[in-house]
Amino acid sequence: MSETSTGELPLYEVFIRSKNGLHHKHVGSLHAADDEMALTNARDVYTRRSEGVSIWVVKAENIVASRPEDRGAFYEPNDDKMYRHPTFYNIPDEIGHM
C-alpha cells in the first residue's frame, strides 16, 4: 500500500445528501485509515450544522474520472443534438403548456 509507506492516512471524498429528495453532492475530502473512520470523520467534519441526512465516502483512488482532454469527445457531440431539448419544437400557444 502506497499510503502506509508514507504513513499518511488515505484520502476520501465526501458526498452529502442535504435532505431527502436531493442528490448527494460532493462537499470536500478528508483523511481516514478505513471506511468506518472516514464515515464518522465525515459526520464530525462536514455535518457540524446538521447539513446532511445521508453521507457517502469513497476512497479518492477509487474514483474514475474523465480527463479534461476528453471534454471535446465526451460532451461536444451532444451540443448539436438540440432535438433533445423541449424548446426545439414549435407548439402553437393555443395548445397551452406542454
Binding site: L9, H31, A32, M37, T40, N41, R43, D44, R48
Partner: protein, 259 residues
Amino acid sequence: MSVSVAEMTEQDQLFEYTVRLGDNCVILGQRLAEWCGKSPVLEEELALMNVGLDLLGQARMLLDYAGKVEGAGRDEDKLAFFRDAQAWRNLLLVEQPNGDFAKTMSRQLFFDCFQFLQYQKLSNSADTKLAEIATKSLKEITYHVRHSSDWVIRLGDGTEESHQRMQKAVDELWGYTPEMFDMDAVDEAMLKSGVGVDLKEIEPAWKKMVEGVLSEATLNFPELTWQVRGSKEGKHTEHLGYLLAEMQFLPRAYPDANW
C-alpha cells in the same frame, strides 16, 4: 453538604441527584477542552470537540435545572464557577488527567458506556425534566459510545506500541470504575420515587459492553487489584483542584462582573 440524608427534603435530594449528573458533564467537557490544538489527527480534533460540545450542552441543561430545583438563585454558572472541590459530585473517573490519546479514549469508553446505560433508564424517569434531558442526550451519547469503542479497538488491535499504551490506559483507570455503581441514600431515595436509576442493575450490562469492546481490541479485561471511591461525599483526587483553579479563575477574580 452538612445535612445528613435523613434530614434532606425531597427537593434537596433531587438537587443533589441532578448536580451529580451535571458535574460529570462539566468536568469531562473541561478535560476534552484541554485537547484543543493537540489532537493526533485534524479530523479527530473536530470529533473530540463535538463530544466536548455535547457534554457542555448536557452540563448546562442539568445545572440550570439543578439551580431551579434548589430555588436559591444559583444558575448554571454560579454552580459551575463558585463551588470548591468538596462540593463537586463528579465521578473520580472523569476528573483524571487526559494522559495520552489512549488514556483519554479509555476514560471516554468507560464513561460513555456508563452514561449510555444510565440515561437509557433515566429517559423513563418520573421527573419529566430529567427524562427529557436524558432522551435528548441519549442520541449524542450513542454516537460517543461508537466513537470511543472504535478508537479503543483500533488502538488495541493496531501496532505493538498502541496495544501496550491502550492496555496500560485501561489498567490505570480500572480502579476508578467500581465507584460509578455505588448506591448511596440519595440514589436509593431517588430510585424509590421513580426518578433515579438503579446503578447496581446496570453494572452487569456495563461490564458486558466494555468486555465486548476490550475483547475485540485484543485487550485483557483488567483484574480489580485496587479501587477508590467517595465522589458522592465530595472526596476527590488532587487533580480536581487544579482543574477547578483554571476553570473558575476569571469569575472568582471578578465576582461582580457579567461575561
